[in-house]
């Protein structure tokens, strides 16, 4: 029973984190898209040309 309870709790935590991760990624997608539109409208150019810093990218 303890094992089952632990498994269920763990599953709930994983589902909760998955939901947070999905929400975050959806929000990032939306605001990044809005920013791109804004930048285009402003004719924005980066002050220094360089590789973009990705938000939350994993370094292998």
């Amino acid at each position: 029973e303890d094992e089952l309870e632990a498994t269920m709790a763990n599953k709930e935590v994983v589902e909760y984190r998955m939901r947070l991760l999905t929400e975050w990624r959806n929000w990032r997608e939306r605001v990044t898209e809005e920013l791109m539109i804004d930048r285009e409208a402003y004719g924005w150019k980066p002050p220094v040309e360089e590789e973009p810093i990705e938000d939350g990218e994993v370094v292998e």
Binding site: R17, L20, W27, T32, W44, V48, V58
Partner: protein
């Protein structure tokens, strides 16, 4: 993760900034000296001398040509990064607590303190990115705080808005052209000072630190709180890491309590939180007093902290830091690969 200890300041650190490339670190302290260091090995390249009071704030422009500093001598100074020459001094009736260049380096904001019958303000100066060109004498914008004074401020993307953190724990959003207040939200506990605001790389969100022992992740355009990071100590600084989804928080008990408090009890540690899940995932000890400032390397390879103890500690992350992932992050990464 073996830190490099930067010894050169004689009094407590007030702010640290990496330049855009991340190869240089600029630091200010109450000893009236601005220092510049190589971030890779901690070697001090030099100092910028000229202020007559404690240094409160520093920022470097995107091309690492101009440096701005603000101090208790009621001045902002602009410096030629390369030669150390002071190019411009702006005088104010009160101390300058925060300076920040806009993301394109064409504007500089400054927060001046409320004191001696003067109201606190945010001023904005146009900046010419040429060490030989004259800079403007007067600001193009002045925002005066009639109620709670501003303590920290930052630019949004495209220089559209100025975000101000207040003494009463609220955050305001201002139109950077007109100075009109567009929004004000009580982000932190009432009457709990906001001690730091640092923007995410694209400036669509930012992190705040507060004396209410928490840090908040906030959407810039709406001032909606996205995440909360709760700690057990007053916070002086908060920074967002690039590459990994973390935030780093620094703080500790007030300096006046330090003499009667051991380093362990003072909780003088940099705290790492997962940006999305809000969990604390680690701490880094080392300082012998509160952490007054933390800054993240712009490429996400390390961070630096400045303490009340007068030291700057520079950390380069080891491989396990980059390998660390939550189960759900691994799962979604695998899903993405498949």
């Amino acid at each position: 993760m073996r830190p490099i200890l930067l010894q050169g300041h004689e009094r407590s650190l007030t702010q640290i900034k990496y330049n855009r490339d991340g190869d240089l670190i600029f630091s200010t302290a109450k000893d009236q000296i601005v220092s510049v260091w190589y971030s890779a090995n901690g070697e001090r390249l030099g100092t910028y001398s000229g202020h007559q009071g404690a240094l409160w704030t520093v920022d470097v422009n995107p091309t690492t040509t101009l440096l701005a500093t603000g101090a208790a001598d009621n001045t902002i100074k602009i410096w030629d990064v390369q030669t150390g020459r002071c190019l411009k001094t702006w005088d104010f009736p009160t101390a300058v607590k925060r300076v920040e260049f806009s993301e394109d380096g064409t504007l500089l904001l400054a927060v001046t303190e409320m004191r001696m019958g003067y109201l606190g303000t945010v001023v904005v100066f146009p900046i010419v990115n040429d060490v030989n060109a004259p800079q403007a004498d007067t600001p193009v914008l002045r925002i005066t705080f009639e109620q709670s004074k501003g303590t920290v401020a930052a630019w949004s993307a495209l220089n559209k808005h100025i975000v101000v953190g207040h003494e009463d724990g609220s955050v305001s959003l201002y139109d950077s052209k007109t100075g009109e207040q567009l929004a004000n939200e009580q982000i932190h506990e009432p009457d709990m000072l906001i001690t730091d605001i640092q923007m995410a790389p694209d400036r669509t969100y930012f992190v705040t630190a507060s004396k209410d022992k928490s840090a908040k992740l906030v959407e810039t355009s709406t001032l909606k709180v996205l995440k909360t990071y709760a700690t057990d100590t007053p916070l002086n600084s908060a920074a967002i890491t690039a590459k990994k989804d973390f935030v780093i928080l620094g703080g500790g008990q007030e300096a006046r309590d330090v003499t009667t408090t051991s380093a362990r009890e003072g909780r003088f540690e940099a705290r790492f939180f997962h940006k999305i899940f809000e969990d604390e995932i680690g701490r880094v000890r080392g300082h012998f007093g509160p952490l007054n400032t933390v800054a993240c390397h712009p490429q996400g390879t390390g961070y630096a902290s400045g303490g009340e103890d007068g030291y700057v500690r520079v950390h380069h992350f080891d491989q396990p830091y980059f390998d660390f992932m939550y189960e759900v992050e691994k799962m979604t990464r695998n899903q993405q690969i498949v």
